[in-house]
Structures are given as structure tokens and as C-alpha cells.
């Protein structure tokens, strides 16, 4: 077993293996931004509080500033950019735009990854479960309501594409603006 200050790692980032030498104390976030150039992963606080650095690490949504880069050797990481071809992520992105859930946009990449992870695990969450699901992601602009609206809308659209939709149930879930948008989109307007 080697004891190293500079650690050689090979980490798969959005499908591409990235080899680099990291310092023992570097976080996965340091590696992603500075070495893998995955600058869609944002650094808001560097101490686990804000969630802007959220990625899918080894299959789970985590804050990348709370993972040691050296620890991530051999692992698979997906950031927002690596999920953009995914239909659920596309629904979420569209819904965030439709619902005005993006203002300054700094929290958005992390918020989208956390929302995606939530809907992966629970395709039909209640608004309370959605609030829980993004409770590790801070947004200083939107006040969260529009973000929850957007997640509801994306979930609803997804259930519709699944063919398991019950429109009356779905409409109950959605709130205010999202409901209007959903009617528009689901009933053929969009």
C-alpha cells in the first residue's frame, strides 16, 4: 500500500475516463472543475451546505465537495452535462424554463441533478417529498415554489409519456402556474 501526497486517479466523468494527479486533500469538486473541466458543476460554499456541486457519484446523488478526489479513483461520475441526453433530464430542463424556476441560474445545475435523482427513485412524489428531495440545495433567488412547480410538471409529463397517467390526479398535484402550464402542455398546446 502506497502513501502518497500526489495521488494518481482515473475517474470516469460523463462517460470519459479522465486520468489526473490530485493532491491528497483535494475534493472531487476540485478535480471536476480544475482537472476534468466539468465547469457545469458549481462551487458555492465548498463545505457541504449549498448543493451547487451535486453530481451522481457511484450511482447516488452527492455533494462533490464532500468526496475526496483520491477516494473517487475508479469511480463513475455524472454531472448535469452527462445527463442531458436523458429524457427525464430534458423534461426537467424544459419544465424549469416553463415555470420560471431559473433566475440567476447558479443553483440550477445542482438543483437539476438532485431533482433528477429524486424522480429516478420516486417517479410520482408528493410536493412534500419534492421539498425533502431538494432540501440539500439552496436557491437564493426563486423561493423554491417555482422549482417545486417545475419538478411537478416534469414528473407529470413523465407519467404521461409512461402511459400510466391519470390527468385528474396529476392536476391535483400541480399548483398554480404549473397547473396552467401543464394543462397547456398536456392538452396539446405545446
Amino acid at each position: 500500500m502506497e502513501i502518497q501526497s500526489d495521488v494518481k486517479v482515473k475517474i470516469r466523468v460523463n462517460g470519459t475516463a479522465v486520468s489526473a494527479t490530485v493532491q491528497a486533500g483535494d475534493s472531487l469538486l476540485d478535480f471536476l472543475r480544475n482537472q476534468a473541466r466539468a465547469t457545469d458543476v458549481k462551487c458555492g460554499c465548498n463545505q457541504g451546505d449549498c448543493g451547487t456541486c451535486t453530481v451522481i457519484y457511484d450511482g447516488k446523488a452527492v455533494k462533490s465537495c464532500l468526496v475526496l478526489a483520491a477516494q473517487a479513483d475508479g469511480k463513475e461520475v455524472r454531472s448535469l452535462r452527462g445527463l442531458m441526453e436523458d429524457p427525464l433530464m430534458q423534461s426537467l430542463q424544459n419544465a424549469f424554463v416553463e415555470c420560471g424556476a431559473v433566475q440567476c441560474g447558479f443553483c440550477t445545475p445542482g438543483m437539476l441533478v438532485a431533482s433528477w435523482s429524486l424522480l429516478q427513485e420516486n417517479s410520482n412524489p408528493t410536493r412534500g417529498e419534492m421539498r425533502q428531495g431538494i432540501s440539500g440545495n439552496l436557491c437564493r433567488c426563486t423561493g423554491y415554489k417555482k422549482i417545486i412547480d417545475a419538478i411537478s410538471l416534469a414528473a407529470a409529463q413523465h407519467v404521461v409519456t409512461d402511459g400510466t397517467a391519470n390527468l385528474a390526479d396529476l392536476a391535483d398535484r400541480l399548483d398554480g402556474q404549473a397547473q396552467a402550464k401543464a394543462n397547456y402542455l398536456l392538452l396539446g398546446g405545446g
Binding site: 500500500m1 502506497e2 502513501i3 502518497q4 501526497s5 495521488v7 493532491q23 491528497a24 486533500g25 475534493s27 465548498n46 463545505q47 457541504g48 451546505d49 448543493g51 451535486t54 447516488k60 446523488a61 452527492v62 455533494k63 465537495c65 464532500l66 468526496v67 475526496l68 483520491a70 477516494q71 479513483d73 438532485a114 435523482s117 429524486l118 425533502q132 428531495g133 432540501s135 440539500g136 440545495n137
Partner: protein, 283 residues
């Protein structure tokens, strides 16, 4: 001088060897949700990070009869979705529901929560109330098992010996008690608790028995409020008992003043949380 180095032992013995060789300069790295913020804030200097996150045999929940053994690398997220804990150890299960946020729960380990020894460690009051035991191992001292109450020495300090690693926690399941964990923070999610309480008891002919009450954030370590337990024992559950016990609890806790709250406010919380926990446990 800031100087970090890293190693990843392939098995437990190798980990214990390096921990023993480097002594106080070695730092166990598990989920790193405490460790990385400490590194970035430069609270830790010149240390060897010993990555145990993938060691075999330290992860998972095992039931044997009415006892559970939980490996130290088990994450809070894994505990939070365990049907066994939900039914068999509701205090710990409840504490995991309100722990941090889903992203932190995916990293945070049980061993790290206890090893960090924060007075606010959320898994500690439930484990104290369940009278859990901690199994540890070190190269020189071998394996030992001791009551969790003996683990905590002070804020951020444990009684673990140099080079000693927490292997697992063991506690009884399906106690059939009335129990509740309550936590009070400044924000619902992701907040360090200002105070927390775990309470369990039985009712015999309307009188409280087998009372266990443990507090978090109300002293230098998480602790069991044994005098308040005595005050509740043998008493009926009513307003008068709760008033007496709350007054006792407020005298028994030893809270500090910090950026989050004053000590007198926390003292008040001791009584309020006891009432809340008692009502929740008996509802």
C-alpha cells in the same frame, strides 16, 4: 504546515497497521462529510488520510434474533430506508429521517457520525437510549466492545485509543416500547440541531417504567439524563409529572452558548423537547 497524504488500505489489518504506525497523525476517512469541510477550513494540518470507505465487512445491517449489528460504514441513507430499523429500532430510524439532507445522507456514515463526536451527532441520543454497544479494533489492543456512553469524551473527542477503529454498533430490536426522537433546529433540513432528545419507556398499569432519555447538543457530549429518567419512573403520564421532569431536565443539562443559541435558551429546550418527545411517544 499544511501537508496531507493519502492511502487506501486493501483490508482491515492493513488499515489497523497504518493507523497504529502513524498514531495521532493518521485520520480515518469514511464518508468525508465532516472531514473535507475540516480540511478546507484548515482545522486539520499535516495528516495522513486513511481511506476506509471500501473496506470489506464494515457495511450493512444484520439481525440476529432480537439484536441488530450495524457496520460502521453503513450510510445514514441506508439506515433511513431499512424496514428492519423502522419496525425494530424506531428511535434510530427517526433520527435518520431528519438527518442532514438526502445528498449528505448518501455519504454520511454511522461510524463517522460517532467518530466525529459532535455533541449534536444525531445518531447518538437514540443509540444511548437503546444502550447500544460499540465494537472496535486496534492493532495493539485487539477487539473490544463497550457501552456507547463510554465513547464520548468531549466536543469532537472520543475515548478511542490511538489507532482504534469503530467496527460496528450493536443494539436490541423490537423492544416494544413507546419511543420518540425529536430534534429542534433553525431550519427543517440540513441544520445542525440546537437540541435533540430520544425517549423510550413502557407503561405498566398507567405508570412509566424502563425510562431512557438521552439528549444531544445540551452538554459537552451526547448523554443520558439519568436523574430525569428516575424522576419519570413509576409516575403516571400527566401534566404534573411532565412539569416536574422538565424542571429536573433543565437542571440536569449543561448546555453552552454558541453562535446558534444561548445556554439559557437551550436549557428551556431541554424541558420543551422532553414534553414533545413524551407526547409523541405516547400518542
Amino acid at each position: 504546515m499544511l501537508h496531507y497524504s493519502f492511502c487506501k488500505p486493501g483490508h482491515l489489518i492493513e488499515a489497523l497497521q497504518v493507523l497504529s504506525e502513524y498514531g495521532g497523525r493518521a485520520r480515518i476517512a469514511a464518508g468525508c462529510s465532516n472531514l473535507l469541510p475540516d480540511l478546507k477550513a484548515r482545522h486539520l494540518q499535516d495528516c495522513l488520510l486513511v481511506d476506509i470507505s471500501e473496506l470489506e465487512g464494515l457495511r450493512g445491517i444484520q439481525a440476529e434474533g432480537d439484536w441488530a449489528t450495524v457496520g460502521s460504514l453503513t450510510t445514514i441513507a441506508e439506515l433511513a430506508v431499512s424496514p428492519l430499523l423502522r419496525e425494530g429500532a424506531p428511535l434510530l430510524w427517526q433520527a435518520c429521517q431528519s438527518f442532514g439532507d438526502p445528498l449528505v445522507r448518501n455519504r454520511a456514515t454511522l461510524g463517522g457520525n460517532l467518530g466525529h463526536a459532535s455533541p449534536a451527532a444525531d445518531t447518538a441520543p437514540p443509540l444511548l437510549a437503546m444502550e447500544a454497544s460499540v465494537a472496535t479494533e486496534s492493532l495493539s489492543g485487539g477487539r473490544r466492545e463497550f457501552p456507547i456512553a463510554e465513547l464520548f469524551a468531549g466536543p469532537g473527542r472520543t475515548n478511542l485509543r490511538p489507532g482504534e477503529l469503530i467496527l460496528s454498533l450493536r443494539f436490541p430490536l423490537f423492544q416494544g416500547k413507546h419511543e420518540a426522537f425529536v430534534k429542534f433546529g433553525l431550519r427543517d433540513a440540513m441544520a445542525i440541531s440546537l437540541a435533540s432528545a430520544a425517549l423510550s419507556l413502557r407503561l405498566h398499569d398507567g405508570l412509566m417504567q424502563d425510562v431512557r432519555l438521552a439528549y444531544g447538543s445540551l452538554a459537552a457530549t451526547p448523554f443520558r439524563a439519568t436523574r430525569t429518567e428516575e424522576c419519570l419512573t413509576g409516575m403516571p403520564f400527566n401534566e404534573e409529572t411532565l412539569s416536574l421532569a422538565s424542571a429536573q431536565a433543565q437542571g440536569e443539562v449543561r448546555p453552552i452558548t454558541d453562535v446558534r443559541a444561548s445556554s439559557s435558551y437551550r436549557r428551556q429546550l431541554a424541558g420543551a423537547l422532553l414534553r414533545q418527545a413524551a407526547r409523541a411517544a405516547l400518542s
